[in-house]
C-alpha cells in the first residue's frame, strides 16, 4: 500500500490486469473521483499499448475539454495521446484512448430504432405515452443503458479494453443480479396480461373479470393509462426477445475471467463503509473486487514534524523574507502555519486509520492510494499524475510529471 509512485511492490499485479483485462467495471460512492479515476486507469492502459475506451457517466466538462473533447457524446471519440507521450518521454506502443459519455435516452431510442420491424411500428412507438415516460425517466435505468452500450462496444471487436464508470447509487450493482431488468419489464408473463387476446379482442382480455390485478391497476392508474400500456406492450413486443438475449450475453460477459471490478472510494469512514458494502455485495454475487482505489487521500502530514522543527530556525527563515517584519508578526505567522499543519495532520491520521481498517478486511495488497492534489484534475498532466499513483507505467519509464 503506497501513494508513492517510487516504491511500488503492488503495482505489478495491477499493471498485469490492465494489460490483459477486457472489461473493468468501476463501482463506488459518489463524489470520490470515480469518473476521473476511470479516465486515469484508461489513460494508463492506452499508454501501455491497449485500445481502450472509457465509458463515463458524468465527466467534468473541463476534463473533457482538456482531453481535446469539446463535447463528449454517446459515440466514442478518440483522445490525442501525443502530448501524454511527449510529457512522459514514453514511446508509442500503438495504444489508443477513446471516451464516450452515456446518454441513456439516446441509447434507448437507438435501440428501439434499430430493432423496430418497420417505420409504422416506430412511429407508433414514439407517440406512445408510456414510451415517453420511459425515456424521460431513464436516469433510473442508467445502469441498464450502460450495459446496452457495453454490449455494443464489447462485441464490436475494435477495443481491447472497456472501462465502465457506473452511477453512484446503492443499486449500482443491481444489474449484476438481474442484467435483464430492462427485459423483465417486457417479461412474457406481463405482456400476456396486456396483449390483445386474439379471441376476445383487446379490451376483453385486459378487463377480463377474473384478473383482479388488472382491474385494480386500471382503477388506480386510470383507464387511459391502461390503454396506453396495452398499446405499449403491443408495439414493443418486438423488443422482448432481443432484450432477453442481451441480458444473457451481458451476464456471460460480467462473469468472464477477463472482467475485473475496481471499487473506487475515498478514505472518509462513511465512504469506506459503502466500499465494504459493495465488496460484500460482489461476494454474494460470486464476484470479487480486484482492487480498491482510495482517492483524495489527505497527504501525509506528520504531527511530529512540529516538534522536530526548531521555532528559531523557522523564525529565522521567515525573517529572511522580510527583514522589516516585527518579531510578533513573525512568531504569529509561524504559529498560524503550525496550527494549520496540525489540523491537517489530524485529518491525515483519520484517513490512514480508516484505510488501515479497510486493509484488515480486504488485505493491504488490494489497496491503491491516490492523494488529494492541490487542484482539480482537469488536464492531462494531472491525469497522468493520477495514473502514476494507480500504477507507474513501467519500472524504468518513470513519469517525469509525478515529481513536479
Amino acid at each position: 500500500m503506497t501513494a508513492s509512485p517510487r516504491s511500488d511492490a503492488n503495482a505489478a499485479p495491477l499493471r498485469h490486469l490492465l494489460d490483459s483485462g477486457r472489461l473493468i467495471v468501476c463501482v463506488g460512492p459518489g463524489g470520490v473521483g470515480k469518473t476521473t479515476t476511470s479516465a486515469a486507469v484508461g489513460l494508463r492502459a492506452a499508454m501501455a499499448g491497449r485500445k481502450t475506451i472509457v465509458m463515463t457517466i458524468d465527466p467534468a466538462r473541463r476534463l473533457a475539454n482538456s482531453l481535446g473533447l469539446d463535447d463528449l457524446t454517446n459515440d466514442p471519440q478518440q483522445i490525442d495521446l501525443s502530448d501524454a507521450l511527449n510529457l512522459t518521454g514514453n514511446e508509442d506502443h500503438g495504444g489508443e484512448l477513446w471516451a464516450m459519455m452515456l446518454d441513456s435516452e439516446k441509447t434507448f431510442n437507438d435501440l428501439v430504432d434499430r430493432l423496430a420491424p418497420d417505420k409504422g411500428a416506430l412511429k407508433r412507438a414514439k407517440e406512445n405515452n408510456i414510451f415517453r415516460l420511459l425515456s424521460s425517466a431513464l436516469h433510473g435505468m442508467q445502469e441498464y443503458m450502460a450495459l446496452e452500450k457495453l454490449h455494443d462496444l464489447y462485441t464490436g471487436g475494435y477495443f481491447d479494453l472497456v472501462i465502465l464508470d457506473t452511477p453512484p447509487t446503492k443499486n449500482a450493482l443491481e444489474f449484476l443480479e438481474t442484467p435483464g431488468r430492462a427485459s423483465t419489464f417486457f417479461d412474457e408473463r406481463i405482456i400476456k396480461w396486456f396483449l390483445p387476446n386474439r379471441k376476445s379482442g383487446l379490451l376483453g382480455r385486459v378487463f377480463n373479470p377474473g384478473s383482479i390485478v388488472l382491474g385494480l391497476i386500471s382503477k388506480v392508474l386510470g383507464e387511459s393509462f391502461v390503454n396506453d400500456l396495452v398499446e405499449f406492450f403491443d408495439t414493443f413486443h418486438y423488443l422482448q426477445e432481443t432484450l432477453q438475449q442481451r441480458g444473457e450475453l451481458i451476464e456471460f460477459i460480467l462473469r468472464d475471467p477477463l472482467t475485473h471490478f475496481f471499487i473506487i472510494t475515498s478514505a472518509d469512514p462513511r465512504r469506506i463503509k459503502e466500499a465494504v458494502y459493495f465488496h460484500e455485495k460482489l461476494g454474494q454475487l460470486e464476484q470479487q473486487a480486484d482492487f480498491f482505489i482510495i482517492n483524495r487521500v489527505i497527504p501525509r502530514f506528520h504531527p511530529e514534524d512540529i516538534a522536530a522543527i526548531e521555532d528559531t530556525d523557522l523564525d529565522a527563515l521567515l525573517r529572511e523574507a522580510d527583514h522589516e517584519a516585527s518579531a510578533d508578526r513573525i512568531s504569529g505567522l509561524r504559529q498560524r502555519l503550525e496550527t494549520h499543519y496540525l489540523q491537517l495532520a489530524r485529518l491525515a491520521i483519520r484517513d490512514r486509520e480508516a484505510i488501515a481498517s479497510l486493509a484488515t478486511k480486504v488485505g493491504h495488497e488490494a489497496l491503491r492510494l491516490i492523494p488529494l492534489l492541490g487542484e482539480d484534475v482537469h488536464n492531462l498532466t494531472h491525469l497522468l499524475k493520477l495514473s502514476d499513483f494507480i500504477t507507474p507505467l513501467a519500472p524504468d519509464a518513470r513519469v517525469a510529471t509525478a515529481k513536479g
Binding site: 463524489g31 392508474l221 502530514f301 514534524d305 499543519y341
Partner: protein
C-alpha cells in the same frame, strides 16, 4: 387561530422582515425558517447529508418539530444521529427531532394501501408476481411513491395542528433533482389527470412547486462541477418546475492558513525551501515513514497545498455568487475527525451561535 405561539411567530416574522429589508441575515437559517418542506440536493460527496443533519438539528434546537427524511439510501443519519431505523415510521430522537429512511418498497406498499379498497386487496396485488415484476421494472414508480409518503408526513396533523413544523429531505445524489421532483407532474401528464393516482401526483407537485411553503436548497463545493451544476439547477428549476432555487450552500470552504498581508513572506519562504531541496512537493505523497530532516519542508509544502485549496475555493465562490440566481451562504470546512462533530459545528454555524462563528455571515 391566534394563539400565543402564533403571536410569537408573527413577532419573529416581522423582525425577520426588518432584518431582511436591511439586507442582514440574523442567521444562515433565515431563508428556510418559514418553509415547511426543505429539499436538500447536491452531487454526492459535497456534504449533502451533513448539511441535512445539521439543518435538522438547528431547526429542532429552536423548538420546531423537525422530521429528517432520507430516500432509500445507505443511511447517513443513522450514523450521524446514532439511531437504528425501523421502517417508515419516524424514530423519535429528541423532543423535537425525528428521522426516517424511506425505503422505496415500503413506500410502494403504503401508497398502494391508500389507493385500493382494503388491505386484503393491496396484499393480493403486492403478492402477485406479475404485478411485482411490473412495478419493480416500471420507471418512476419509486420516485412517486417516495414523494407521496413525504406528502403524507407533510399533511399529518395532531389535534388540528401539523405534526411536523419542518420536514428536511436528503434527496438522492444521483440523477438530477429536477427530474426527480418533476416525476409527479410527468406522471400526471401521462395519465391525463384521470384516476386517483393522477390526483395524488397533482397534489404532490403543487406542494413541491410552491416556493412559499417549500424550499429547495442546493449544497455544493467550491469546485468546478458542483458550482456549474448548481447554476444549472437554479435555471432548470425555473424553466421546468417554474419555481426558484431557495438557497445555495457552498460547503467545506477552506480557510487561508495565514493573513493576506503575510503572503509575500510565505511565498518567499516556499521559494527558498524549494530552491534548497527540489522535489519537496512530492514529500507529502510518500506513505513510508520519512526523514525528520524533511519536517520543515513538509510544514511549508503542507501550508502551500492548503493555500492552493483556499485560492481555488475563493475563485469558484466568486463564480457561484455572480452566476447563481439565489442567495448564497458558505460553510467552512471543519477539521474534525468524526462526522457527528462536523454536524454539530455546521448546526451551530447555521443556527448563528456566535461562539462558534469563525467566518463572517455570508451575502
Amino acid at each position: 387561530m391566534f394563539d400565543v405561539a402564533h403571536c410569537a411567530d408573527v413577532a419573529s416574522l416581522s423582525l425577520l422582515f426588518l432584518a431582511r429589508s436591511a439586507r442582514i441575515f440574523l442567521t444562515m437559517l433565515d431563508p428556510l425558517l418559514d418553509k415547511r418542506l426543505i429539499f436538500v440536493t447536491g452531487k454526492g460527496g459535497v456534504g449533502k447529508s451533513t448539511v441535512t443533519a445539521a439543518l435538522g438539528k438547528a431547526l429542532a434546537a429552536r423548538g420546531k418539530r423537525t422530521l429528517v427524511l432520507e430516500t432509500d439510501t445507505f443511511s447517513a443519519m443513522e450514523d450521524l444521529y446514532g439511531y437504528e431505523g425501523t421502517g417508515l415510521e419516524p424514530v423519535k430522537l429528541s423532543e423535537t427531532l425525528y428521522a426516517s429512511n424511506l425505503m422505496a418498497e415500503d413506500c410502494f406498499v403504503a401508497t398502494l394501501t391508500r389507493f385500493v379498497p382494503g388491505e386484503r386487496v393491496a396484499r393480493a396485488v403486492i403478492n402477485n408476481r406479475v404485478a411485482r415484476v411490473f412495478f419493480k421494472a416500471a420507471p418512476s414508480v419509486n420516485e412517486v411513491t417516495i414523494l407521496d409518503q413525504i406528502r403524507v408526513f407533510y399533511e399529518a396533523e395532531d389535534q388540528g395542528k401539523p405534526r411536523y413544523d419542518h420536514i428536511v429531505v436528503d434527496l438522492p445524489a444521483s440523477g438530477h433533482a429536477v427530474t426527480f421532483l418533476n416525476v409527479p407532474a410527468t406522471m400526471n401528464g401521462m395519465m391525463r389527470g384521470i384516476g386517483p393516482i393522477a390526483k395524488m401526483t397533482a397534489q404532490v407537485s403543487t406542494i413541491i412547486n410552491d416556493p412559499k411553503q417549500t424550499a429547495i436548497a442546493a449544497v455544493c463545493l467550491p469546485e468546478e462541477m458542483p458550482v456549474n451544476e448548481t447554476i444549472e439547477l437554479a435555471s432548470n428549476l425555473k424553466s421546468v418546475l417554474g419555481r426558484p432555487l431557495t438557497l445555495a450552500i457552498a460547503n467545506m470552504v477552506h480557510r487561508a492558513p495565514l493573513h493576506d498581508d503575510d503572503r509575500p513572506i510565505f511565498d518567499a519562504l516556499l521559494a527558498r525551501v524549494r530552491a534548497n531541496a527540489p522535489g519537496t512537493s512530492s514529500l507529502l505523497f510518500d506513505e513510508e515513514p520519512t526523514d525528520e530532516s524533511d519536517a520543515l519542508a513538509r510544514l511549508v509544502e503542507g501550508n502551500a497545498l492548503a493555500l492552493g485549496w483556499h485560492d481555488r475555493d475563493q475563485r469558484y465562490l466568486g463564480e457561484l455568487r455572480s452566476r447563481v440566481d439565489a442567495p448564497v451562504i458558505e460553510l467552512p470546512i471543519f477539521y474534525e475527525t468524526s462526522g457527528d462533530d462536523v454536524v454539530a459545528n455546521v448546526a451551530r454555524q447555521l443556527g448563528g451561535d456566535s461562539s462558534s462563528l469563525d467566518h463572517p455571515l455570508a451575502i
